[in-house]
Symmetry: C2
């Protein structure tokens, strides 16, 4: 056992640099990286249009090592950035990692964290090209990622009245998994295992992003804070109101199995699903939904009342829902 404090920053950075270089021996991104991890900044060759995003996880706020492993944290931090790039219609390329670390943390935990980063790097065809490590009283993990993008990215502000609204797959599994993990429930059924996995290893929908981009969708965002919290963001950015049919919101099967009466509420309110929410003309969205297994049309984009979201159940009665997604600062 060696703590981060015992190893010291310089040795830890060298240790990590060696590992990352071994995992990606040429640091080339197909010849694109000129200077990778280990210098003041990463340098790479690009042409055209770039996307950049950043996302942070703080111990005790976004994760607890009692419920997720350090490798899970690395995977999630990387995948959530991939998801943001995909939500712009971009293809993720490379990221920087910033770590805030208490000096008492064991270096083996950092190794596990990088296992997660590097697994995700490999899964999404991306490269870890550098970062920063600082001492801190609590652990935090920030990834900043760049990708290539078209000059007409998928934005939150491109929904138009008359468009229909869709999600790329079932919701709520991550939240269900979090509840099970926090309760210390035995993961003794396939449904429970599926929920825990959805929480620990979410999938960024680069595949769905490619489909909707190809079909000409212009409006998308990823669902990181929960559908109920994210819908108003799209509505405000687009200057429209939204009507969502809760009967059409796809709920993860395992969530129905484990949390039957609560499943819809968890699907609407739960965060970290990283599915894509997108809107467009009904023919385009219908084509996308037919190509993306598990996706569904969930509602309509309407004129007026910018930012407002109304919920109806299938037969049309108006619902009053009191569901809040994830608000980071409350």
């Amino acid at each position: 056992m060696t703590t981060v404090g015992e190893m010291g920053e310089t040795a830890l950075i060298e240790h990590i640099t060696d590992r990352v270089r071994r995992a990606s021996p040429l640091q080339t991104m197909g010849g694109r990286i000129i200077t990778g991890i280990g210098d003041d900044a990463a340098v790479w060759r690009v042409g055209g249009v770039q996307a950049a995003t950043t996302d942070t996880m703080v111990e005790g706020v976004h994760f607890r090592t009692s419920t997720v492993s350090w490798a899970d944290v690395g995977w999630k931090a990387w995948a959530s950035n991939v998801s943001d790039i995909a939500a712009m219609g971009g293809v993720p390329v490379a990221g920087l990692v910033t770590l805030g670390l208490p000096s008492s943390l064991d270096v083996s935990d950092i190794d596990a964290l990088y296992d997660g980063f590097l697994e995700a790097c490999s899964s999404y065809g991306t490269e870890l090209m550098g970062g920063d490590i600082v001492g801190a009283p609590i652990s935090f993990v920030t990834v900043a990622m760049t990708g290539v993008c078209s000059a007409t990215p998928l934005t939150r502000g491109a929904a138009r009245p008359g468009d229909v609204l869709a999600v790329s797959g079932p919701l709520g599994a991550s939240r269900g998994g979090l509840i099970l993990l926090e309760d210390g429930a035995p993961l003794d059924t396939p449904a429970r295992q599926a929920l825990a996995l959805a929480h620990r290893r979410p999938t960024a929908r680069t595949d769905a992003s490619a489909v909707i981009r190809r079909l000409g969708v212009r409006c998308a965002m990823d669902l990181s804070d929960g559908l109920a919290a994210d819908l108003p963001k799209l509505a405000r950015a687009s200057g429209v109101s939204l009507q969502v049919d809760t009967d059409q919101v796809p709920v993860a099967d395992a969530l129905r199995t484990e949390f039957r009466p609560e499943a819809l509420r968890l699907a609407l309110g739960g965060g970290e699903d990283y599915e894509l929410l997108f809107a467009g003309p009904s023919d385009i969205v219908a084509a996308a939904v037919s190509e993306i297994p598990g996706s569904s049309v969930i509602g309509d984009v309407m004129e007026g009342n910018a930012g407002r979201v109304a919920y109806v159940a299938g037969r049309g009665e108006r619902l009053s829902l009191n569901i809040e997604g994830w608000e980071h600062l409350r």
Copy 2:
């Protein structure tokens, strides 16, 4: 007074987005930004070679609001990233800001922080193009920045035996300022004011970077952790040893005035100077030093003993120095 927790994440992000858009009404970077702050990721148009870096400041570790203002924190977090891009020979373009915020923090403090970011944006011709805000038990500020760069960036690994070593300006003023501010010393002399300013508002040497790049220097890094801590990093990356003449190390005038007997030690050990350390053939470095006021040749690059740094005083006797720079995790 409104705390961050009272305002909530969504409102705070909208508040910040409005401010940043007002400070940069077109979010265009000369037509390059396609989607700026407020979406899943920023999207901009580039061609050629990019540099990216990230740097973090943690409250209680890298700053205390008893000694620096929130505007100073914003300035420093931005300028330190500009400095990293300059140290690669790049020109900074745009950055993302990640904030970890306790819910008790006042929104006026966040406004002051963004004052600092936006002042630095303006000073360095850069744009704030997005970011992430999360709740955290302590405050931390991470900036990730990209810039354009040549295909032959200035790296730490390009020093060769026979090269000479130089710094772009006087060292130690930031450390001197930190000592005065932590002691609560009255800032009642020009020297003390200069030291405090150097600590609160360091300057990234984009000017010196442009000179050394134009003259053909290939090896550089910025001095963020202190000369004594940073020299071995350059020596290790280049596989060389270094010999530094402490009589030639430029010491900030105000530091000599205020800390006479300790001035050299503070100049060697103090961090956050953000001067450039560079190496190259003696004729090129001499030309650079003659163009950069305050810069000095400080030593030689030698073969063997990779990573070793020896200190001599002017007449040549070997010194045994016990000076440590900033190690973030100790």
